[in-house]
C-alpha cells in the first residue's frame, strides 16, 4: 500500500503549483475555497488521484448504472 493509498499525504506537502491548480479548478465550478482549507482540499484531491491510480484503466465498457 502506498503512502497515498494509506491517506498519509500531508497538507504540509502541498506545492505552490498544486495549490494554484486546485484554486483554478474550484473557480471553474463556482467554488471559492477558504484560504485555510486550500491545503486540505489539495491533500484530499491528491489522495483521490492516488485511489484513481489504483483503480487504473479497467476494460473500457460504458459505465453501468448499478442495479442489484
Amino acid at each position: 500500500m502506498s503512502a497515498t493509498e494509506r491517506g498519509q499525504d500531508s497538507v504540509d506537502d502541498r506545492t505552490d503549483g498544486e495549490l494554484a491548480a486546485v484554486l483554478t479548478a474550484a473557480r471553474q465550478v463556482g467554488l471559492a475555497i477558504a484560504p485555510g482549507d486550500l491545503a486540505a482540499v489539495s491533500a484530499h484531491l491528491s489522495l483521490l488521484l492516488g485511489f484513481a491510480a489504483v483503480v487504473g484503466d479497467p476494460v473500457p465498457e460504458p459505465a453501468p448504472v448499478y442495479r442489484p
Binding site: 500500500m1 493509498e5 494509506r6 491517506g7 498519509q8 486546485v22 479548478a25 474550484a26 465550478v29 463556482g30 467554488l31 471559492a32 475555497i33 477558504a34 482549507d37 486540505a40 482540499v41 489539495s42 491533500a43 484530499h44 484531491l45 489522495l47 483521490l48 488521484l49 485511489f51 484513481a52 489504483v54 483503480v55 487504473g56 484503466d57 479497467p58 476494460v59 473500457p60 465498457e61 459505465a63 453501468p64 448504472v65 448499478y66 442495479r67 442489484p68
Partner: protein, 462 residues
C-alpha cells in the same frame, strides 16, 4: 426490565400484558436523560410522539388486536432519517434550516407498523462522511465499552445507544461500512442488507449508488426481527428491489449444516491486525471452517469505492457548497470539495472496475455461501488518535476503518457484523458476507455463533 433485555423479550412482555409500551418508552427516555451525557449518542428525543405511539400499542393489546412483532420496542434512528414533525439533521446545521419532515422515512414507518416506538435520533458524522462520529456541531460520540474511545461511524450514535443500553434497537445507514464499523467497535450486531432490499426513502442520501439502510441490535434475533419488518419493495426508492426475500427470524437456530463457509484472506487478512485476525479464526474454529479463499481485486475495489463516494458526494453537495461552505463541518468540507473537483474520467473508470469486481464476487459466491472476515482492521482507537498501526503500517483512523467493509458495499452484497471480543478486551466484529438476497444465510451463521457463546454483544450501562 434490565438494560440488556432484548427486543424479542420486550415485545413478548408487551403482548402478554406484563409491561406496557408506555412504560418501556418512558424507561428508555429516562435512560437517555440520565445516562447519555456520558456517551453523547443522542441528538434529539421524541417524547410526546413516543408516548402517543406507545399508548396506541397499549390500546391494541387491551383491545385484543395484534400490536405487531416489535410491540412497544423503543428504537432510535441515525439523525438522517425523517421523523414526521422533526427537523432531519444529517449531522449538519444547514439541514436545520429546512422545514420539519412531513412524513416518516419508509424504514421508520415500517418499524412503527410492526409496533416499535421511535424515541430518539442519534449522532453521526456530518452527512455520513466519516468513520468516527466526531461532529463539529454535536460533539463526539463515546464508546460504551470504554468512554475514552471512538464509537466508530458514521452511525456511531446508533451503535453506542444500543451498546449502552439506551434502546434495544436502532437504524443506521451504510455507504462504505457505516453500520458495520461502529457495530464492530461498540460490540453490537449490525446488518447492511443487499442493495435495494430496504428502502432509503425519507433519508438524507450521501452517495446514491452506494447507500444502504439497516438495523443495529444486541442479539441476532432482534436484528432478524427488525430486518424482516424493514425489508421489501418501496416505489419511493428508485433502487428498491421487488424480488421477494426470505424471512430471517424463522431460520434462526437452524445451524450451518449445508452452508459452504470460507475465510477471506489476501486483502482481508493483510488489512487486519493480529487481534482482528484472531477473532475471525475463533469464529472459524467454532463453525468448523478450514477453507480459505482470496477475493481478487479487493484492494482496487476499495479504491473504486473511495473514488465513487467522493465524486457522488461532491456533486451532491456542490450547489450547497457554493453558498454555505462556511457552515459545513471543517473536517468534512475539504473532502466534499475535493470530490466535486475530481475529473469524470476517474469516476467512470471506478464504475467500470465496480462492474468487473461484481463479476469476480459472483464467480466466488457460486462456490461459497458465507465468507468470514474481520469487520474492522482493529478495535476502537482512542478519541483524538489520528493513526492506527495495522501489521506495521500506520493508517489514518478517519480514512481506513472501512477497508474491510467497502468492497461488499461497492457491489451491494449483504454483510452482517457479529460482536466478539479482541485480545485487548475491546469489542471487535467478525463480518459475514453472502451473495445478494442471501441474508438468511448470514443469520444462520450469526445465530450459531451466538448460541455457542462465541458472539456476545458488548457494552455496559454507563
Amino acid at each position: 426490565m434490565t438494560w440488556t433485555t432484548t427486543a424479542v423479550e420486550l415485545a413478548a412482555r408487551v403482548r402478554g400484558g406484563d409491561v406496557t409500551a408506555v412504560e418501556l418508552a418512558s424507561q428508555s427516555l429516562a435512560d437517555i436523560a440520565a445516562r447519555d451525557g456520558a456517551l453523547n449518542s443522542v441528538t434529539d428525543v421524541f417524547t410526546e410522539r413516543a408516548l402517543d405511539d406507545a399508548a396506541r400499542v397499549d390500546r391494541a393489546v387491551h383491545d385484543g388486536k395484534d400490536p405487531g412483532p416489535l410491540a412497544g420496542v423503543p428504537f432510535a434512528v441515525k439523525n438522517l432519517f425523517d421523523v414526521a414533525g422533526s427537523r432531519t439533521r444529517a449531522g449538519s446545521v444547514i439541514e436545520l434550516d429546512r422545514p420539519p419532515a412531513a412524513t416518516d422515512a419508509e424504514a421508520v414507518r415500517r418499524l412503527r407498523r410492526a409496533g416499535a416506538i421511535v424515541v430518539a435520533a442519534t449522532n453521526m458524522d456530518e452527512y455520513a462522511h466519516g468513520f468516527t462520529t466526531e461532529n463539529a456541531h454535536s460533539g463526539t460520540t463515546r464508546n460504551p465499552a470504554d468512554l475514552r474511545r471512538l464509537a466508530g461511524g458514521s452511525s456511531g450514535g446508533s451503535a453506542a445507544a444500543v451498546a449502552g443500553g439506551l434502546v434495544p434497537l436502532a437504524l443506521g445507514s451504510d455507504t462504505n461500512g457505516s453500520i458495520r464499523v461502529p457495530s464492530s467497535l461498540c460490540g453490537t450486531y449490525g446488518l447492511k442488507p443487499t442493495f435495494g432490499r430496504v428502502s432509503r426513502a425519507g433519508t438524507v442520501l450521501f452517495v446514491t449508488s452506494l447507500d444502504h439502510v439497516g438495523p443495529i441490535a444486541r442479539s441476532s434475533a432482534d436484528l432478524a426481527l427488525a430486518f424482516d419488518a424493514l425489508a421489501g419493495y418501496d416505489s419511493a426508492d428508485p433502487v428498491s428491489s421487488d424480488r421477494p426475500g426470505e424471512p430471517c427470524s424463522p431460520i434462526l437456530g437452524r445451524g450451518v449444516d449445508g452452508l459452504r463457509l470460507a475465510v477471506a484472506v489476501g486483502h482481508f487478512e493483510e488489512t487486519a491486525d493480529g487481534s482482528a485476525q484472531e477473532v475471525v479464526r475463533r469464529a472459524a474454529r467454532e463453525l468448523g471452517v478450514d477453507r480459505e479463499v482470496v477475493v481478487p481485486r479487493s484492494r482496487e475495489a476499495c479504491a473504486a469505492a473511495s473514488v465513487i463516494t467522493s465524486a457522488e458526494a461532491g456533486q451532491r453537495h456542490l450547489a450547497q457548497l457554493r453558498v454555505r461552505e462556511a457552515d459545513y463541518d471543517p473536517a468534512v468540507r475539504p473532502g466534499l470539495i475535493a470530490g466535486a473537483l475530481l475529473p469524470a474520467a476517474h469516476y467512470l473508470a471506478a464504475q467500470r472496475l465496480r462492474a468487473e469486481y461484481r463479476s469476480v464476487v459472483e464467480d466466488l459466491f457460486a462456490d461459497v455461501d458465507v465468507l468470514l472476515t474481520a469487520t474492522t482492521p482493529c478495535s476502537a482507537p482512542l478519541i483524538g488518535q489520528r493513526t492506527m498501526d495495522v501489521r506495521g503500517e500506520e493508517l489514518l483512523v478517519g480514512m481506513s476503518m472501512g477497508l474491510l467493509a467497502q468492497p461488499w458495499a461497492l457491489v451491494g452484497l449483504p454483510a452482517l457484523s457479529v460482536p466478539m471480543t479482541g485480545r485487548d478486551g475491546l469489542p471487535l466484529g467478525v463480518q459475514l458476507v453472502a451473495a445478494p438476497f442471501r441474508e438468511a444465510s448470514l443469520f444462520r451463521v450469526a445465530s450459531t455463533l451466538e448460541a455457542a457463546g462465541v458472539a456476545v454483544a458488548a457494552g455496559r450501562a454507563v
